[in-house]
């Protein structure tokens, strides 16, 4: 059988960076082909070249055996040749209906579209691939997995023969992911090829046929799923053995640090986001919050760190009442915060490392004279120390932190927050989008904090992470804590069920 697409010796350079170095990649018709690699390995660059978004410097593209003139290769040409993209951050018009969004994807759409025809096509896809979605629903009313289905239908509408899916399960519950896998398998069976980008090895093994591994822009190899195992693959990706299983000290919780009692809060849209929520986190304890995104996790973190006022209930930290919380108060009480929006909230993107490190403590007398004149030399020394201690890789201390890789950026935030020796740490998706090496580092750092006696609230959508790191796990659903369990007494399946409100049904 001939590959549908073949990329040969693809090289892509960005100023000062070799993003791809003679990478080979091919996809057979009806194949599910995983593209694996750490962040910065070049997976996204490669798919961007395949989908015509980036020019390539060297190499050849063949589609159905025909050599493509690279100068004619564009996003539009890729679409015309059947290469479709299912975006991770959905490219949908929120206020429009599913039908209208899908109609918009049709490039040859006439001035007056034949909506009945499109409606029929959507229904056909629904029965054929189990891609059920209500064509008249507004996008904002849909769940994340439904939005994803709309994106898939959009891509199929172009007559895509290849679907590129960039970490499609990152936003789904285990149950929703299973649904997606069924759809993907069905699509493959009908002849559509899938390029599946993922960090998660188990799901790659579950659905993929072949795996191509990239590392730092280099092509490491392509293997059949049947001929390999998770350990070997991890080694291919990282270039060394990895131990993601964090060594955990014995669970010996101390005094309560954070006590939330019956708190309620509104979301940005002024809808109730937290509903009568109570929980307690103790010294030397990692308390995990599991939940489908959008069930109040964001608001919970903001309430504790003072970024969002509460409408009801009260908050105590080490016995001090901080019900009328502000970020200043929270910082003073020793609450550290690793926000999920690293670049937008965790740092100032255009500032260099020194100014990023002293964001919260520049007023301390070691960094400024009476809080007025900054002590540049001290700040620089302090930064150097942290860069060394946290092994942060940077091209220069004063270059903007936005140029750092995701892992190194997270290290900057971790370094800053931990150096304040917080008694309470709120960590939101601390390893999301990080590669294995950086994930390992973040988890180890949290564990060290725990051993040192800090209370840690870990909000994560990665259930395996919660299971590996937390001592107790609370499941949040529609702003309420549904259940709090000792980690050793629960399973991923159980969590997945409770996250979707399933415990109501079960009870």
């Amino acid at each position: 059988m001939k590959p549908y697409v073949e990329l040969k010796y693809i090289t892509k350079r960005f100023p000062g960076v070799l993003a791809l170095d003679a990478v080979n990649f091919n996809v057979m018709p009806g194949e599910i082909h995983a593209l694996l690699g750490e962040n910065g390995a070049g997976k996204t660059v490669l798919t961007n070249i395949l989908s015509g978004r980036y020019d390539l410097n060297e190499g050849e593209i063949f589609i159905q055996g025909e050599r493509i003139d690279p100068s004619k290769w564009s996003a539009r040409a890729a679409l015309d040749r059947g290469i479709g993209m299912v975006y991770q951050d959905f490219m949908l018009v929120e206020e429009h209906t599913v039908l209208e969004n899908i109609a918009l994807a049709d490039l040859s759409i006439p001035f007056i579209p034949d909506f009945d025809q499109i409606r029929k096509t959507i229904a056909d896809f629904g029965t054929k691939y189990q891609l059920d979605v209500d064509p008249d629903a507004k996008i904002w009313q849909l769940s994340v997995s439904e939005k994803q289905r709309v994106e898939i239908i959009k891509a199929l509408m172009h007559g895509s023969k290849i679907l590129i899916m960039d970490e499609p399960t990152a936003v789904l519950t285990p149950q929703e992911a299973d649904e997606l896998f069924k759809i993907v398998k069905k699509l493959a069976k009908e002849g559509t090829s899938i390029i599946f980008i993922s960090h998660k090895l188990p799901e790659v093994f579950e659905i993929c046929d072949r795996i191509t591994v990239l590392r730092k822009g280099e092509y490491i190899g392509t293997v059949n799923v049947a001929d390999t195992n998770e350990k070997d693959l991890a080694k291919m990706m990282v270039g060394r053995e990895v131990f993601l299983q964090t060594e955990k000290a014995k669970y010996k919780p101390g005094l309560p640090v954070l006590v939330l009692k019956n708190i309620s809060a509104l979301s940005d849209r002024r809808i109730k986001a937290l509903n009568n929520l109570s929980l307690t986190v103790h010294e030397s304890e990692i308390f995990g919050i599991a939940g489908v995104s959008g069930n109040g996790q964001k608001e919970l973190a903001e309430v504790i760190t003072g970024l969002r006022p509460i409408t009801n209930g009260n908050i105590h930290v080490n016995g001090n009442d901080i019900t009328e919380n502000t970020p200043r108060k929270a910082i003073k009480e020793g609450i550290g915060h690793i926000p999920d929006d690293r670049i937008g909230m965790g740092v100032v993107p255009d500032l260099g490392m020194p100014k990023s490190m002293v964001l919260k403590n520049y007023k301390e007398s070691r960094f400024s004279f009476k809080g007025i004149f900054l002590k540049k030399a001290e700040i620089t020394n302090y930064t150097k120390k942290l860069i060394k201690k946290f092994n942060i890789k940077t091209s220069g201390m004063s270059s903007p932190v936005k140029l750092l890789s995701g892992g190194n950026l997270q290290k900057v935030i971790l370094a800053r927050e931990i150096s304040e020796e917080p008694c309470m740490m709120v960590a939101v998706h601390p390893t999301q989008g990080l590669d294995i090496g950086a994930t390992e580092f973040v988890r180890d750092t949290l564990e060290k904090q725990r051993v040192d006696g800090a209370a840690i609230l870990l909000i994560s959508e990665d259930l395996e992470e919660l299971m590996a790191v937390s001592d107790r796990i609370g499941v949040i659903y529609e702003g309420e804590i549904m259940d709090i369990m000792l980690t050793k007494d629960t399973t991923i399946e159980d969590l997945g069920l409770k996250m979707t409100g399933g415990s109501h049904v079960a009870a």
Partner: protein, 355 residues
């Protein structure tokens, strides 16, 4: 076929900060020469006239500096808000209010000696300018009203209020035909140097620029407003009281513009006179601050450049007999090129072979 492609620069090159403005300037001069050619003049001669007019001798220099002085203040005022990512379009009105308050103080405390009176004038001008920045600041922080609109609209209130005073209660009884106040008492007038119109205002402007520079680069407050300017979300996260500092910035900005207004009258005009207060300094200051990229030391250079453009343009009118329109057209062209060139710091153009 070749095609021009716009690409975002992935790295930031420091040399572009210097190269781009100079290259833009050269291109502007080339393009501007067409304006002169169409009007039947030799562009080289015109440029020579402009240069001589602005820098040719001591007097030319003094006039350029005189024009640069008010722009220095409005430019500095706006550079402060620019750093905080706020837009103060109201420097013009604050300039007027400063001039007005100074005039009031000059009359009210007219018996005081200069060493008391001048600081009093400065203080009242800063208070008035600062107060003129306060309503937009409060509306911005409490009700999220866009400060661009409120600061702009307050300009008209300030200008018409001053006009009312000139036509009404403050009109000089000695010259009832003219909308102007009586001359300031001598104690309220700044020293002029070298028998030119150059006055102490420029020195005060340089001091303010250096103070702002130190504030930005060396102090915790400068750091704080930089964080606020680049990411409000991060500032809140770090426990910085964003609203309080936005109010401070807008008020201080107003105070600096107001001080500029006082110096213009006390140093140069010596009385409030209709049409003799601001030559759109508040608006030109926006361009000054923008071209200087919010850097107060660069504001000095840009204000000087703009001053030279004004003085050189005036001398063109006189020596070569151009109408005001031709000169303004040329000035506009120069600004257009420099502003357009700004985008090349962030984007680059590349020829790509196509098809």
């Amino acid at each position: 076929m070749w095609r021009l492609k716009i690409e975002k620069r992935l790295s930031y090159n420091k040399w572009l900060d210097y190269f781009v403005p100079v290259a833009s300037m050269v291109l502007a001069l080339i393009a501007g020469s067409f304006v002169f050619l169409i009007n039947g003049a030799n562009p080289f001669e015109a440029y020579k006239e402009m240069f001589v007019g602005a820098f040719g001798d001591g007097y030319a220099w003094s006039e350029t500096l005189v024009q640069a002085t008010p722009l220095l203040f409005t430019g500095l005022a706006i550079s402060l808000t620019l750093r905080t990512l706020l837009w103060n379009i109201g420097a013009e009105g604050q300039f007027f209010m400063g001039a007005m308050a100074a005039t009031w103080a000059a009359q009210y405390f007219s018996q005081q000696p200069p060493w008391i009176l001048i600081p009093l004038l400065m203080l009242s001008a800063m208070v008035a300018g600062g107060l003129w920045g306060l309503p937009p600041a409060i509306l911005k922080t409490k009700l999220k009203v866009n400060e661009i609109l409120t600061t702009l609209l307050l300009n008209y209130v300030a200008i018409f209020f001053v006009n009312y005073l000139l036509y009404g209660p403050w009109k000089d009884p000695m010259y009832p035909g003219f909308p102007q106040t009586p001359r300031y008492p001598d104690a309220a007038i700044l020293t002029q140097y070298f028998n030119t119109r150059l006055h102490t205002g420029i020195l005060i402007g340089l001091v303010v620029a250096v103070i702002l520079y130190i504030l930005y680069k060396k102090t915790g407050w400068g750091y704080k407003i930089q964080v606020i300017g680049q990411s409000r979300k991060t500032a809140k996260y770090a426990g910085i009281r964003v609203n309080r500092n936005i109010i401070r910035v807008l008020v201080i900005s107003g105070a600096i513009a107001g001080l500029g207004g006082m110096l213009q009258i006390s140093g140069l005009q010596h009385k409030l006179r209709l049409g003799g207060i601001s030559n759109n300094y508040g608006y030109t200051g926006i361009i000054v601050a923008f071209l200087a990229n919010g850097n107060p030391l660069a504001v000095i250079l840009v204000a000087l450049f703009m001053g030279a453009l004004i003085v050189g343009g005036d001398s063109l009118q006189i020596t070569m007999g151009f109408g005001k329109g031709v000169v303004h057209m040329f000035e506009g062209m120069v600004l257009f090129f420099i502003l357009a060139g700004e985008s090349l710091k962030r984007y680059k153009l590349r020829w790509v072979k196509h098809g």
